[in-house]
């Protein structure tokens, strides 16, 4: 009997050894494993959707770098909470440097989308999916990659070009920044591929994806940015053939009841009135602090007090401009009945049923932008021709303004920029428009002049707290953002931009 016991014991041991490794293989049952993903048509569609999903977050913070930093918006100064000083406020007051956390986030968010674009493109050939799906998905991914590199090169100048995912951390140390010209070559390659692959439109169930029109519009913008005006005109003129037109009512452009309309070329999609987590909440950032339910219609709800329209832009509207009331409000009536002169952006302010959950989409590219780009490009090539006036006045007409005529090339250039400012106000164009249309010294002077005005007469009360000496002093080098300190600390081979 005793021998038998030993035998049982030993065989139990052997049995347990043999079942060992399976016992130790555990994967997270709540998520998918990356190694096994990208295998089917459905996986591929979801990978593409995932990238669009990341854009929701990206567009949630773009106002900081494109509007807030310019003469369009400022902040509802918060004398109490100074915690945002070195972060958000550094952008407003041009105190940003390589350590500014928001610039770090901007840089990181671009590459965290890029890795999913690159992984999807790299894994796509092995996926079991029809060729037309693969082709369209490739077009979408290359559109977004072209967009991301265009963002990178405009914000940061020279950029690291990466088109395949790295397999080990060590590989990531091997990349260096490529010159601006090479980055633009990447942008052209990607956008041209996208123009080839993308459809002009989608069946209703897929509306929201990038179209050929979006790729052409973006490509036109790239040419315009590079002052390649003839190419810009040729590209943008293809967009005018695609059936887009201006809506007659400016307010309808931003109305969530009217998403993906005929003027919309590329719209970032959000959905409110449910808790599925794909909503927007722009007005919660933009509404005045301490408005306590007087702006956002929920008891006690205050806003962030960010991206506040400046007196400068408020005063820029002509008498009778229908866009002003849609785009902004100069203040609000508190629940106690007092007028509070704190302006706020009104474009993304619509009724919604759940606190913090709005239904507003973000207009990334729309037809009015195409018309104004065309006007700008034509003027640069041929001067203010009838065609250029036609495009500009189409915009003005909708705004309820008189057409303009008889301008010099210079004056027309100024008029287009002024029109862009108001037509596309608070839609994240201003910073790039200023950079595109001005030389660095011009831009420095322009911003510092604005800074002096804002210092002399702040848009909102500072409650007795003076400006810091370094507030609103814009220097040449700040035209290009710094490469975040963290990236250079991690990999000292990465070069910093001059001046930082």
């Amino acid at each position: 009997m005793q021998k038998g016991t030993i035998y049982i014991f030993i065989s139990a041991l052997i049995f347990s050894v043999s079942c060992g490794d399976e016992f130790l293989n555990k994967t997270d049952p709540t998520v998918l494993v990356a190694d096994e993903f990208y295998a089917t048509e459905e996986d591929l569609e979801q990978a593409v959707n995932g990238v669009y999903g990341q854009l929701r977050g990206y567009f949630g913070s773009q106002w900081q770098f494109t509007e807030f930093i310019t003469d369009n918006t400022t902040l509802h100064f918060n004398p109490g909470n100074r915690g945002q000083g070195p972060a958000l406020e550094a952008l407003e007051f041009w105190q940003y440097n390589a350590g500014t956390p928001n610039i770090n986030s901007l840089y990181n968010s671009i590459y965290s989308i890029m890795v999913n674009v690159n992984t999807t493109l790299t894994r796509m050939p092995e996926a079991n999916a029809p060729e037309e799906v693969k082709s369209r998905a490739e077009g979408e991914m290359r559109f977004i990659r072209g967009f991301l590199y265009f963002e990178l090169v405009r914000y940061f100048g020279d950029a690291i070009i990466i088109t395949e995912p790295v397999q080990t951390p060590a590989e990531a140390f091997e990349y260096e920044r490529s010159p601006v010209e090479s980055v633009y070559q990447q942008v052209f390659e990607d956008l041209n591929a996208a123009v080839e692959a993308l459809p002009n439109s989608y069946p209703s169930s897929l509306v929201g994806k990038a179209t050929r029109g979006a790729a052409l519009t973006l490509l036109g913008k790239v040419h315009l940015t590079r002052h390649e005006y003839t190419e810009a005109i040729n590209t943008l003129n293809q967009v005018t053939q695609l059936g887009y037109h201006l809506l007659s009512d400016y307010g309808a452009i931003f109305n969530p009841q009217n998403k993906n309309h005929q003027e919309s070329i590329w719209e970032i999609q959000y959905q409110g009135d449910n808790l599925f987590g794909v909503h927007s909440s722009f007005i919660y950032t933009f509404a005045p602090r301490e408005s306590f339910g007087a702006v956002i219609d929920f008891p006690g709800q205050e806003g962030g007090g960010w991206n506040t329209p400046t007196l400068d832009i408020i005063n820029a509207y002509e008498e009778g401009d229908l866009r002003k009331e849609v785009s902004l409000r100069e203040g609000y009536t508190s629940l106690d009945g007092d007028w509070v002169p704190v302006p706020y952006i009104n474009k993304y302010h619509h009724p919604h049923s759940i606190r913090g959950v709005t239904n507003d989409n973000w207009p990334a590219l729309r037809y009015a932008d195409v018309l104004l780009m065309l006007a700008e490009a034509i003027n640069e090539v041929e001067g203010p021709t009838g065609e250029a006036y036609m495009h500009l006045n189409e915009i003005r007409e909708r705004a309820g303004l008189d057409p303009i005529s008889g301008l010099s090339q210079d004056a027309f250039r100024t008029a287009v920029l002024a029109e862009r400012r108001l037509e596309l106000a608070f839609e994240n164009h201003r910073w790039f428009d200023l950079k595109r249309t001005m030389t660095v010294p011009q831009l420095v002077n322009f911003l510092n002049d604005y800074g002096l005005r804002e210092r002399a007469e702040p848009t909102t009360s500072r409650e007795g707290i003076p400006f810091s000496n370094n507030d609103f002093i814009f220097s040449d080098h700040q035209v290009i953002f710094p490469i975040p300190q963290d990236q250079i600390r991690i990999n000292p081979d990465i070069a910093q931009n001059p001046g930082y």
Binding site: T5, F9, L13, S16, D21, F23, L24, K26, T27, D28, T30, V31, A34, D35, F37, Q46, A47, N49, G50, G53, G80, R82, G83, P86, Y107, Y111, S112, M114, V115, N116, I160, V166, P169, A172, F173, Y175, Y202, S205, L206, V207, G208, Q269, Y270, Q271, L275, F276, G277, V278, F298, P299, G300, E302, I354, R355, N469, N470, Q485, D486, I490, N491
Partner: protein, 1021 residues
Amino acid sequence: MLNVYTPKIPLLMGFFYLFSLTLGFAQEAGMIKGTVISAEDAEPLPGVSVLVKGTNRGTVTNIDGEFELEAASGETLTVSFIGFETTEIGVNPGQTVYEISMQASMGDLGEVVVMGYGSQRRADITSAVSVINMDNIGDVPTTNVSRLLQGQAAGVQVRQNSGRPGEEMEVTVRGLGSLGAGSQPLYVVDGFPIGTTLGQNLNPADIESITVLKDAASTAIYGARGSNGVILITTKNAQEGKVGLEFVVNHGMTNVPDGRRTRMMDGPEFARFKHESFVDRIRYFEQREPSLDEIPEEFRFPEQTQISTDWFQEIMNQNARFSNYNATLTAGTGDIRSLVSVGYVNQEGAVINTGFERFNVRANIDGKINDFLTMGWNIAASHSREDYAPTDGRGALIGRSLWADPRFPVYNEDGSFNTFIGGTHGVFGTANVVQELHEMERTLEINNVLTNGFLEFTFLKDFKFRSQVNATLNQAGRKEYRPSTLAGPGFNQPPPREATLMQNNNESLNIATDQLLSYSKFIGPHRIDGLLGYSAQQENTKILQGNGTEFPNDQTRYLSSAIQQTSNSSEFGWSLLAYFARANYSYNDKYLFSASWRREGSSRFGANNKWGNFPAFSAGWRISEEDFMPQANWITDLKVRASYGVTGNNAIGNYSALSNMRISNYVLGGDIANGQVLANFANANLGWEQSQQTDIGLDFAMFDNRLVFTAEYYNRLTQDMLLSVEMPVISGFTQSLDNVGLVRNRGVELALDYRTRINQLNLRSNLNVTINRNKVLEIRGDADAIWSGGFYSTYNVSVPGRPMSMFHGFRMMGIFNTEEEIDNWPTQDGAIPGTYKYYDANGDGEISYDIQDMVEIGNPHPAMLLGYTIGGDYKNFDFNFMFTGAFNYDVYRNIEATTLNMDGVFNILQEGVDRWRSPENPGNGWIATSNTWKWQRESNSRYVYDASHVWLRNVTLGYTIPQNPIIPSARLFFSAENLFLFTSFPGSNPEVNQRGGINIGVDDEAYPIPRTFTLGANIRF
């Protein structure tokens, strides 16, 4: 098999026969006398206790070792004395004079100590092991077993982070070992490794013994969970041959002492502060004298401020009750011994409407089935309910009770709650903390079953095979309801809000099985013990959570009433497999050797590194047994020992080695479109964090074990730590988990036990001293550093060459008094008179508003820890005093960074009245101006304090009621917990460590540590 028993039956009957015979003779009592001598040298022993067993008749021997007392024949004398084996002598008919000779006891040396997967005679142990002396703990009013470890063992740091009822204390063995994974020890209850937390459901009254395994030789048998020490807890069972019933009742009350409260400005003081800050700002920035109407009306006449609310005081629960009941029935007669215990504890919190309540039942049974088969089964079940509140941190209740505007009342004139506090003129608005504690429903209910059983089979004389199965089932249900009447949880969110509800159900099942084959043999002077084992364990947790918002009313607080509902569920788990072996060999009880080896596989590691090896060796030499040692009778035992071993740490996430997808949905065609993106960077090479530990120890017992001294030196090197390592973001991620770094913990531990008897006073004392030095030797590269925390909320920084997690910040050199001083100082952009003057660490002439000029400003690691217990008894009285101490370490006081930055959005520490106001009125030279916030709020040395302290943790005084026919044994006791704190630290708790992990030593204001007084009784039948 029954025939095995048959020969014994007559024997047993014979025993009963003899027994009844003895009883029969027990009749008349008479005076007997005698002498007690030492068996070794025949010298008389004074002070020996002689007691007639089962009665209260007893005496003590005189200076010549003589005694005299009344005893009847048939009765038994129990003769006991410290350092000697207790002896029993029968009183024979007719014999009136006795000479009793006492053997020096083996004392602790003969004691059997619970070790990993077995036990060992203390004399044979060759590794670093601390056994908690349960006598030294006192009758502590505690709900958590972790409290029993406090101050009792060298090398074991037990921090009480907060006074939350039911709170588990934070235990660290031999310093912080890991930069990335956890540093908590492994808890093993009755042989069952339950994990790195004890939870809240084990009943302290059920604990028989606690052993702390400290060095690698003792912990390597636990492999990948052994790096941070192992704490073995054994629950009680009946004593052999005894049947008993014990009741313990303990009642008391709890208060937060005045001296441990943080003082804030009162209403008029705060109004004056706001008034003056308006005046000072106009004076400084506009260089003029302000008129009175430039000051907001509410601050214009601060002395007329009507209301002054001390919010902290308002949320204190005065005389909170503590009650604890335990009943234990034990039966140790026969082959099977058993224990059944029932416990109930109810602890009201020191903060109103918080508290902890628990019911425990336990049944332990073990014994012989036959000569070669023994079995045992323990089962413990508990139910606990906690009314909790998020108390810790600036945004939580304690923080808010400190910074809430004191000029607002708790109640409106009609008696209803004032629902929104502050929110005017830049002062942050917050919910009323009293109302929140009354109206918010926050409960955590835990049902726990912990069970383990074994079957042990003895065969071939020297072999044993033991098969053990362990399981714990834990179900925790959490509910939080925030009614619409409350202001929002953030700043400036006045009511009404949408009501919110969260309900969470968390179920986990942890199962382990061990198969152990052991061999034990004496061959002449050789003693051999061997162990072969196999262990498998897995844990699986399922979580179901529902959230609701917008309720039609505040009465129906269930998800079904919510207009908006979301739900989610998840599941996770891990598994491990291990094979292990151990051999102990001793020669002549003089030369001792031990070696162990474990091979362990874990589901948590990468495909290429699933398995790890953990060997250990140790040796000891009992010098006192050597012939060359003079047979000096004061040396009882002298042993030197050394050990080396490798252990691991698998306290990382469950699926860290894999790259997973995460959901990133979009909207297409107006509908949700499912989307997935990469969630993390994969590292298939992820492997084991390893610690190599060397330990040298000395055990020295003297004067018949009256004085026992233990000294240890250890050196633990932890390498290949599982750490998030930064990588270029072009990879798509900013970090990935990798095996990097090297951390050393080395130190000295001293423990001194002394027991003596002075006349009728028995005294025992224990002193333990821990000196640990922690140093990061390597992270990834030379220039690498791990920064955690924040610019405004304390940086803990680990850099090679320094201890882990040192405080970093600006070095505050004083306060700028004039513009001239600012001009003569390196540039501090935006500095004005009254702001802090910081040190230009990099010497570039500018103090930049980032981390470049930040330097080390404090060390959160105590240079020395101390535990001291003195206890004893005198006649029927007994006492126990326990002290803990920690010396020469720093705590960062975040409430100062929050309020002494003087921005006036919060109420301010009372000392803020002495702030800088002008060059002529610079205050106490230590508190900044209210004219700005910059250069006042950043992580800096101004807010770092030495937190050295000594705490009189517990005083227990007891009185044993003389035996009487109704109650054979009864003892009354008084216990005072957290009685006195001696420290210069200005905060409420020098042990505070809410952030935990590598963010140690930051005081964010936590649930205060109350003082508890209890009265209790312990009755035995």
